[in-house]
């Protein structure tokens, strides 16, 4: 824990974070691309058709990782929210801001692929089933959080407001996760991570795990580059504010020392 703390403290320096992330990012993005390529090859050419679902089962390899990541990114935003409110970590709100659009995108991807999968299997694009509904509510919460970021101009005030909203919205996460266990619904219950082992056949499980790893690395790479962009955006904002201030003072300086003033 102490070591972990010191790493977090070291990363609190944005310049150090930028340097470190610049070194890590190409490797992560590259590895993610390789894993996704291998995963897609496995999915399209190696995985057998399901005995009931046929080829449509291949949608699962996009759908399930996207669903996991929609929850993972929200959990990460919650961690960052605590980091913002409790430890006032200077990069926590940057991490949170960068995660929100990515999480929303994966949630949407999950809903869309689920819908495309649902049409041939369930015979409908959409049902008001507990998991589908709670995932939709998750998307709405993501969108609300993005909206709140855009509504408050001052970044630090926005960060605290969004952090509180994120914590309140976290009640939805256990509902999404356990909805299929609590209510007997159309959506199937958890079959990969469960007590007593996975119920998916190994020939289908391994490609799924490869895809999940590739997607997770993709999400982390996107998140890191989003954080880098946000840090640079804030620097640009600070610099332009500074410049505007100097412009205001410039006429006075020109009167005092015409030769020196720019």
């Amino acid at each position: 824990m102490a070591e972990n703390n010191s790493i977090l403290t070291a990363l609190a320096n944005p310049t150090r974070f930028l340097a470190l992330s610049a070194r890590v990012l190409p490797w992560m993005a590259g590895l993610s691309a390789v894993l996704l390529a291998v995963g897609l090859w496995l999915v399209f050419f190696q995985v057998p058709d399901d005995y009931q679902q046929g080829a449509t089962v291949r949608i699962m390899y996009i759908h399930v990782p996207a669903a996991w990541l929609s929850l993972f990114l929200y959990a990460m935003m919650t961690g960052s929210a605590i980091g913002t409110l409790v430890w006032r970590h200077p990069l926590a709100d940057v991490a949170q801001k960068a995660a929100a659009p990515i999480g929303a995108a994966f949630t949407l991807l999950c809903l869309v692929t689920g819908s495309i999968w649902g049409k041939p299997m369930w015979g409908t694009w959409w049902v008001w089933d507990a998991r589908l509904t709670s995932e939709l509510v998750l998307l709405l919460i993501y969108l609300g959080i993005i909206g709140l970021w855009r509504a408050i101009e001052e970044p630090s005030a926005a960060a605290r407001a969004v952090a509180i909203m994120t914590l309140v919205g976290f009640v939805n996460i256990p509902i999404v996760k356990f909805s299929v266990d609590w209510w007997n619904t159309l959506h199937q219950p958890a079959s990969v991570f469960r007590l007593g082992g996975s119920t998916i056949d190994a020939s289908m499980l391994w490609p799924l795990l490869v895809m999940a790893a590739g997607f997770t690395l993709l999400a982390v790479s996107l998140h890191l580059s989003g954080m880098r962009t946000e840090i640079l955006r804030r620097r640009v904002r600070a610099l332009s504010l500074l410049e505007a201030q100097q412009r205001e003072r410039a006429p006075v300086a020109a009167v005092v020392a015409p030769g020196v003033a720019r």
Binding site: V137, I141, G147, I152
Partner: protein, 222 residues
């Protein structure tokens, strides 16, 4: 401390009753929604009596929202929020008092008038009673959940829209159990008490979470 809280509730009730206050307007809005929906779906009394509880609950959610954006914004503008922040009374209790005043001027009248508006929707007496009872215990949850959004947007000039977008997803469980309790009273497989008690639990949880989160939001921005 109790006197401070009573004073806050009394002040907000006074303001709501004055010219320019929102008291009574949310009730008019509620009636407006209940009137509009039959125009949209047609005056089929069988259909209306079946979905009547849902219409009343939806109308209650929307009417709760309309007064919320001014809940803390008005205090922020005239400076009384700064005094509340500086006072010795814990801010969590102050926001509960503010929420209680809001509920007394919106949620309570809605619950009391619901049977009357139920007549327009051809509800049976039993259903009217059930809707009224569920609104009575469920609208506090709507107010206290909405209070968090009101606190978060207190300093925004145009916070109404973002407030609704923030809090409406969080109101979904309240709506589900409110409507299912009202529906259970008029028949169905679930006993009335099961969803009704969950609704009570949601209101109590919203009271605590809403008070803590709203106080945190007001402090963070102040």
């Amino acid at each position: 401390m109790i006197r401070t809280l009573v004073a806050i509730v009394g002040r907000d009730l006074h303001i709501a009753a004055r010219i320019g206050g929102a008291g009574g307007l949310s009730l008019v809005f509620f009636l407006m929604l209940v009137t509009l929906i039959p125009f949209a779906i047609g005056p089929d009394l069988n259909l209306l009596s079946r979905i009547g509880p849902a219409i009343l609950w939806l109308a209650a959610v929307l009417s709760t929202l309309i007064g919320l954006d001014r809940l803390f914004q008005a205090d922020e503008e005239d400076g009384s929020l700064a005094i509340m922040l500086a006072s010795e009374t814990p801010l969590e209790l102050v926001v509960i008092a503010k929420g209680a005043a809001h509920w007394l001027t919106t949620g309570l009248p809605l619950a009391l008038c619901a049977p009357l508006f139920g007549l327009l929707l051809a509800l049976t007496p039993q259903a009217m009673l059930a809707v009224s009872a569920t609104l009575l215990v469920g609208t506090p949850a709507l107010t206290f959940i909405g209070m968090v959004g009101a606190a978060l947007t207190a300093r925004l000039r145009r916070g109404g829209l973002i407030l609704s977008i923030l809090v409406m997803p969080l109101m979904v469980p309240t709506l589900i159990f409110g409507v299912s309790a009202a529906g259970a009273a008029t028949g169905g497989t679930v006993p009335f008490l099961t969803p009704f008690l969950i609704l009570c639990a949601i209101s109590l949880a919203a009271l605590v979470v809403g008070a803590v989160a709203a106080a945190m939001a007001l402090r963070a921005e102040g």
